[in-house]
Structure formats: C-alpha cells, structure tokens
Point group: C2
Chain length 105, copies 2
DNA sequence: CACAAACGTAAGTTCATACTTACCGTAAGC
DNA sequence: GCTTACGGTAAGTATGAACTTACGTTTGTG
C-alpha cells in the first residue's frame, strides 16, 4: 500500500482520476462523488476501493454514509518515485553533455 | 503531448515502467532495452511508441539503430499535476483541522 | 417494526490493450 | 549488388478491467 507502482496504475484510469480530483476539493460521501458523474454509483464504489488499496484515499464511517478523503501517502509515493528519476536524469545529463542529433518528437 | 493524463496512462503498464526505468540509466537502442526482458522486441517497440506519444521519451536515429532517451517533458507534466494536488490538499487540511474519526485504511 | 437511504459486493458482459508471429523498409558490411 | 543487423508496422488473439444490474447489509426514520 502506498507504493508508487500501484498508485500510478490507480491514477491511470480517467474515471478514477475524476473521482480523485473531486476529493481534492474536500472530503465527500460516495453518493456526493457519484452525483453528476456519467457512471453508476457502484462503479464509483469500485474505483474508491482501488484508490484506497493504492493508498490514495482513506475513508471514515459516518453513520450510514461513508466519507472519503485524499490520503497524502499515495501522492507521496509517486512524488518520491518521480524525484528519483529527476535525479537520475540530471546525472545522466551531466555525463553526456554536448551531444547533438535531431530528436524526432 | 506531454500532458499529465497521457503520461500517467503510459506509466500505468508494468512492462512500460521497466522500459522507462531502463532508460533512466542512460540512452539505449531498442535492442539493448529489449535484451533480457520477458517480452519480444516488437512489444518493446510498441511500448516505446506509447512512451514517446506521452512525451516521456525521445529518440534519435543513429545509423541503423535508434537510440531512445528520457524526455523530461513528460515527467514535468506529472510533477506539475501532482503539485497542484499537494497545494489543494494543504488548503483542504487547513480548512478542517481538528476532526477525528477512525480512518480505516 | 416496517420502510427508505446509503453503500458494498457478486455476477456477467463488453471493450481495450498487451502480446505474439510475420512481414517490410532501411542502413551497414562483405 | 547480396546478405545480415536493426527496428517499425500489420494482423490476430487473449487476458484483464471498467462498466452494468441485482442483491445483501447496515443505519436512520416514520
């Protein structure tokens, strides 16, 4: 839980990113998240399960409803993974400065 | 090209992450990347195509071979997207301090 | 105590995509 | 001019996963 691999895989799905971005605005219940979305509420539940397993969200029982909020752990894992690449990349740059070649993007 | 969505989707695949991580060690040809991997060389080619479309790698023709290297643009897109969440999350934290509830991870 | 609301889960379907083999173009070596 | 590396692309297949509807469970309400 909260490893970069699973977190990246979880955020790959567009619908799941929408769910996640809605939670960025503040904690919400499942129904509130699903409201106005194009997928059914059970679908949102399944996405929340995946996000939770990836350490990206956490939930709290609040009576009959269940409030989800963003868990910084998952974000942190991705950020750490990313930072590793930044560093490696900088070193790699330093190793081979001055090298041309038409980069075909 | 180089938007966070596509970059995240590209890095979701485990095999593609391996390819990407190999490139983090330094620029390599397609054959060199595929060497020792469990998938065929054409598979690696297809993954490189996806990574390139996501702005995560760039390639250079070097005689008969084609050398791939990491493109910082894709990483930057993800990082920017991530930083937005960091900020939003901090504000959201500040808004509702002091709130208990057993967080069931 | 019955009914409604909120949510998770099971089962099944459908569509995406990661892989394979086969083929084709291009650059280098004899 | 042939033949051998190198790598991209086409076509076809199969596994996974993102949905749907249906159902069960818990809480709150009359």
């Amino acid at each position: 839980m909260a490893n970069a691999n699973e977190a990246l895989a979880a955020l790959a799905d567009p619908t799941r990113r929408i769910v996640f971005e809605r939670l960025a605005a503040g904690p919400r219940s499942v129904g509130a998240i699903a409201e106005g979305m194009r997928v059914s509420r059970p679908a949102v539940s399944q996405h929340l399960k995946a996000l939770k397993s990836a350490g990206l969200v956490s939930d709290t029982a609040e009576g009959a409803r269940r409030v989800y909020r963003i868990d910084p752990a998952g974000l942190g894992a991705i950020r750490a993974w990313l930072d590793g690449f930044w560093r490696a990349q900088l070193e790699s740059f330093r190793d081979e400065v001055e090298k041309d070649g038409e980069s075909t993007r």
